[in-house]
């Protein structure tokens, strides 16, 4: 993961998750999407009461269960076995999405393919004609939560930008993202575009801009 040219070390999946977890305060109701967002749960200290929501009707999800305490009837939105926090509750799927769509979540964190400077998000398909379509609950979450954060690699594996002036992939939702946690930086989506609020050590603003299609602004 070392970017030897500039001497900085991009955050890995766990590093991005940990960085995002720092910014989630006690008392928030939060949905963590599939992938890196799911890892965020591991970085929220147990004593900080953050109530995790899962699309399949759980409020108050806990961490992965200890091996001898697995409950096959209790899975998260990725169908991984999970545990419950004290205070948890179950609802059915329509009520679960009433929570999402009714604006009751303080935050959802989603994975992303692309984010545009107007907050547009693309995270479910790379073209309009893909045979598989894996929308899941992303469109509902992107539209419904009070805040939408995205965690993703700052660029694609072959170095193309994901932080864009306009998304080129099919949208998940328009103008929904408020913040992006990438492997290189934390960016706020503002009326003037992307504002850089954090860069990993060893990387300059200019070096970050060079890896970004959209124009970046200083805080």
């Amino acid at each position: 993961m070392n970017d030897t040219a500039s001497g900085h070390k991009p955050l890995g999946r766990s590093g991005m998750a940990a960085r995002a977890a720092r910014d989630i305060p006690e008392g928030w109701y939060v949905n963590l999407g599939i992938g890196v967002p799911t890892l965020i749960a591991n970085h929220i200290p147990p004593e900080r009461e953050v109530v995790l929501h899962s699309e399949n009707g759980i409020l108050g999800m806990g961490p992965a269960p200890e091996p001898h305490k697995e409950n096959p009837w209790l899975v998260n939105a990725s169908t991984q076995r999970v545990s419950l926090r004290t205070g948890a509750s179950f609802v059915h799927h329509a009520d679960s999405f009433a929570i999402v769509r009714g604006g009751h979540l303080d935050l959802c964190v989603l994975g992303g393919f692309q984010v545009a400077e107007n907050g547009d998000l693309a995270n479910w398909a790379q073209s309009a004609t893909e045979a598989g379509r894996q929308i899941g609950g992303a469109m509902d979450l992107a539209v419904g939560a009070k805040r939408v954060w995205v965690t993703m690699e700052h660029t694609t594996k072959d170095g193309r930008a994901r932080i864009l002036r306009r998304c080129t992939y099919p949208l998940t939702a328009a103008a929904c993202v408020s913040r992006v946690y990438t492997s290189l930086a934390v960016l706020d989506v503002t009326p003037k575009g992307f504002v850089v609020i954090d860069i990993i050590p060893g990387l300059s603003f200019e070096e970050l801009q060079a890896r970004t299609e959209a124009e970046l602004h200083r805080e």
Binding site: G57, P72, H93, F97, G132, M139, V143
Partner: protein, 232 residues
């Protein structure tokens, strides 16, 4: 005496017709009516439209094909309405090859459309999907400054439901996260068929704990279905 228990799978499946829309509950394997799906495969109805959260898991060669994938493989499915279908799944391949069509729907819209059918709401507006491919061909309108699209109720001729415990009136409770689509699909099925892990006497489920009242249930079959399996 009201008695919704049926004594055999044949009785449970009786009368499901070709061309039916079948609502299939569950999220992954949890709360999925797998025994009833086996029964439907056996029963023979074809030209089906299946409504199911996830239509296509990856299929490992050598594993037996079951459930939705098996119905698709048998050519019994005309269309799936789903929130999730993988290109590499049996269902995804059937769509790619033109043997089946797929309507892919945001998961919350799917749940709300099903609930709407059960609640007598023929159509509703939602911001989910506005400005995306999902909005194509749909009526659009702004509410409170947000673009919205019109979505239609999604009723089933048949709903297949998995309950934890049931009584002879068809009152149901669910275990933990197996609740998921089960209560709303029970509401939305013209003929709601339940597989239950346990049965109990009327009155054993308290009035305050019943999640799905028997009014939404037509038939209940007691099956020894075991615990849900993790995906391989």
């Amino acid at each position: 005496m009201i008695d919704k228990f049926v004594r055999s799978m044949a009785e449970a499946m009786n009368g499901i017709r070709d061309g039916s829309t079948v609502l299939i509950a569950g999220f992954g394997d949890v709360g999925a009516p797998n025994a009833l799906l086996d029964g439907l495969i056996e029963q023979g109805a074809t030209d089906l439209t299946l409504v199911v959260n996830s239509a296509g898991r990856v299929h490992k060669p050598g594993d037996p094909t079951t459930g939705v994938a098996r119905l698709v493989e048998l050519g019994r499915v005309r269309k799936v309405i789903t929130s999730f279908i993988r290109a590499t799944s049996i269902a995804g391949e059937a769509v790619r090859d033109g043997r089946m069509t797929a309507e892919v729907v945001p998961q919350g819209t799917l749940a709300e459309r099903i609930r709407a059918a059960g609640a007598g709401v023929p159509a509703f507006f939602t911001p989910t999907g506005a400005g995306t491919l999902i909005a194509e061909g749909k009526e659009a309108r702004e509410y409170n400054g947000r673009p919205c699209i019109l979505e239609l109720a999604l009723p089933g001729d048949v709903a297949l439901v998995d309950a934890w415990m049931a009584d002879r009136w068809g009152n149901l409770v669910f275990r933990d996260s197996s609740r998921n689509f089960n209560p709303i699909m029970a509401m939305a099925g013209q003929l709601t068929i339940v597989q239950t892990h346990h049965i109990c006497d009327l009155g054993q489920l308290s009035a305050n704990e019943i999640v799905t009242p028997g009014i939404f249930v037509d038939r209940v079959l007691h099956v020894a279905a075991g615990d849900p399996q993790l995906p391989r």
